[in-house]
């Protein structure tokens, strides 16, 4: 059972082809790494899958719904964490959770107990009434991830979730990702950290809007005759003609 299926998905901005006929599938419960240099088209591809951006051509099915016909139904069944931190900084931790829980249609009386449970798991309980803007970045990222999966979506899209986060918090963050995957939530994640790529079940590498490689980290290393994912990435990214932004 695939959660994401795309066929020739393309996005053009004028003459510029940001995403060039990408076709791939993501299976249920999988942790799918989406790699590529800056400007390779990762974010644009992800935005199309989330229903934020209309594809120029090609088809895509996310969580069982067509991205052309039912973008709003997709939105009900996915979580999204953007590159830029985007919870409300002037609301408290609890209030942010309550807002998004409410919007995703979680029943009023379930919200409070589930919030308490989540905050206990995150060891956030003492900060529950703190304004989000007062939290350190690592905590903010963990919180936004937890908010993105609070409604148990079929798949969660994470756009560089660990950018600028310290190594130990990054580790904790990946523990959260594994926990979510254990719950059956598919994780679609972009990253620039090659150690993180090793944590994924499968990894795709985008070069100039195309997917040039897609396999498990081990197979990729074998194919590209490299000891590390870092080596694999360099071999592929060197082919890029497009200027990084």
């Amino acid at each position: 059972m695939s959660v994401v299926v795309t066929e020739g998905l393309t996005k053009k901005f004028g003459h510029f082809t940001a995403v060039d006929h990408i076709s791939f599938e993501v299976g249920k419960g999988e942790i799918f790494g989406f790699l590529g240099a800056n400007g390779a088209g990762k974010t644009t591809a992800m935005r199309m899958l989330c229903g934020l951006s209309k594809p120029t051509s090609g088809t895509g099915i996310v969580a069982g719904f067509d991205i052309h016909k039912n973008p709003e139904k997709i939105k009900r069944n996915i979580g999204y964490m953007s590159q830029k931190f985007s919870l409300y900084e002037d609301l408290t931790v609890r209030e942010n959770i309550r807002l998004y829980a409410g919007i995703y249609g979680i029943r009023e009386k379930e919200i409070a107990p589930r919030t308490d449970l989540l905050l206990e798991e995150l060891e956030f309980s003492h900060e529950k009434n703190a304004l989000v803007k007062s939290l350190p970045l690592g905590w903010k990222q963990k919180l936004s991830f937890s908010v993105a999966i609070f409604h148990d979506p079929g798949i969660v899209f994470l756009d560089e979730p660990t950018g600028g986060v310290d190594p130990s918090t990054r580790r904790q963050f990946w523990e959260l990702i594994y926990k979510a995957a254990d719950r059956g939530i598919t994780v679609f994640v972009t990253t620039h950290y090659m150690d993180e790529a090793e944590y994924c079940n499968r990894v795709s590498i985008m070069v100039d809007g195309r997917i040039d490689a897609l396999d498990s980290p081990r197979n990729l290393r074998k194919t590209y005759e490299s000891d590390t994912m870092d080596g694999v990435f360099h071999k592929l990214a060197r082919k890029a003609k497009r200027q990084a932004d």
């Binding site: 989330c50 229903g51 934020l52 951006s53 209309k54 973008p71 709003e72 939105k75 009900r76 996915i78 999204y80 953007s82 830029k84 931190f85 985007s86 919870l87 409300y88 900084e89 002037d90 609301l91 209030e95 309550r98 807002l99 998004y100 829980a101 409410g102 919007i103 995703y104 249609g105």
Partner: protein
């Protein structure tokens, strides 16, 4: 869903110290001070006199002018040249020259000339000064004429007096004219432009995109932005009523409910207008400048300061499309004339039209998907 979104907006408004000031202190300042500052009555016109005659009539005329209260006698010059200097230095607005043989001519030939020179750099002051001065001089000449006539003949002079009566604002007080219009301006800023800036602000922060990946409906999102500001708009309006009553002793001659009813339609329209701006503004800076442009246009074309009927034709045509014009008319008519709903159908239709037009445009131009 709407419940949670509105709850969030209210929390943000109450937590933001700037918003509280904006909703309470801003209207207080505007309504307490601006009506007093924006006074068109011209007083303290600086006068220079060149009295070449030094006769009893010329002295009578000067004292009549200075006792009118509108003029301040800055200087009595010896000659025209030095008096003109005062005008050039901008210390005088009006120059009055009484010729050498003023009294002689008046007595002998029953007529005499006087020269007025006006400093028209400040056009309004100059124009008002010359017209006040001419009417005082006219008054003086008819006084002189009456003095000279034999008592028996006095009732034979055909003379008439114009009695002016100002209806609805008998003392021509400017606050009476300004306060209702300023209330409309306040509603425009608070219900129209604040939500627009709020939305563009969320665009910049990226929180709006986060909302766009949720299943929240367009209408829910828009309503959750508008409702808190509508509530604020009514608070501001009520503050306005209280200030008008307490400070300016202004009580609407018509029903206060007529005003609330019209305001609710007006608020709908103007916040729709703000939404249209927010849909096209990509950054706060862009949105701010669009708003500046429209606020200035609205101030000058809505009849807030200058009456629409005395504008050039093209300006009058544009003002047809300014929603504020209708709302200002409504407030002035209800406050001063006591007009009721039946007298204001044109305004009602216009405001309803704007509400549909702008909100329709806003919903159509709002995109959850790019």
């Amino acid at each position: 869903m709407l419940k949670y979104s509105i709850e969030k907006e209210f929390k943000q408004i109450f937590r933001n110290p700037f918003m509280k000031r904006m909703i309470v202190i801003f209207p207080l300042m505007i309504l307490l001070f601006l009506p007093l500052a924006s006074n068109f009555e011209i007083k303290n016109i600086n006068l220079v006199v060149v009295d070449n005659d030094h006769s009893s009539y010329s002295r009578q005329l000067i004292s009549k002018i200075t006792s009118s209260g509108y003029f301040i006698l800055r200087e009595v010059s010896l000659n025209y040249i030095s008096a003109l200097k005062a005008i050039e230095l901008d210390t005088a607005d009006v120059l009055l020259e009484i010729p050498h043989s003023f009294e002689k001519n008046l007595v002998k030939e029953k007529q005499s000339d006087i020269m007025l020179s006006i400093n028209a750099v400040n056009g309004t002051k100059g124009a008002f000064g010359s017209s006040y001065l001419s009417s005082i001089i006219r008054d003086f000449s008819s006084q002189v004429a009456i003095q000279w006539l034999p008592v028996s003949d006095s009732n034979q002079i055909p003379s008439f007096q114009i009695m002016t009566q100002f209806r609805f604002n008998p003392h021509m007080k400017y606050p009476v004219f300004m306060v209702p219009a300023l209330m409309v301006m306040l509603m425009t800023i608070i219900c129209g432009f604040l939500p627009a800036l709020n939305i563009v602000g969320e665009k910049e922060k990226g929180t709006l995109e986060q909302m766009n990946v949720t299943p929240v409906k367009k209408l829910t999102l828009i309503l959750s932005k508008l409702i808190p500001y509508w509530v604020s708009g009514f608070i501001v309006l009520t503050i306005g009523f209280l200030i008008a009553r307490i400070v300016y002793k202004l009580i609407p001659a018509g029903s206060i409910f007529t005003i609330y009813a019209f305001s609710s339609v007006f608020i709908l329209g103007i916040s729709g207008f703000g939404l249209v701006i927010s849909n096209y503004g990509k950054s706060l800076q862009q949105a701010m400048f669009m708003i500046f442009f429209f606020i200035i246009t609205f101030i000058f074309l809505s009849g807030l300061y200058t009456s629409v009927s005395s504008m050039p034709d093209w300006a009058q045509t544009i003002s047809i499309f300014v929603p504020l014009k209708y709302m200002i008319e409504v407030l002035r008519m209800v406050y001063l004339k006591g007009s009721s709903f039946g007298d204001l159908t044109t305004q009602f239709l216009a405001l309803t039209g704007f509400a549909f037009f702008f909100n329709g445009w806003a919903v159509l131009s709002y995109r959850k998907v790019s």
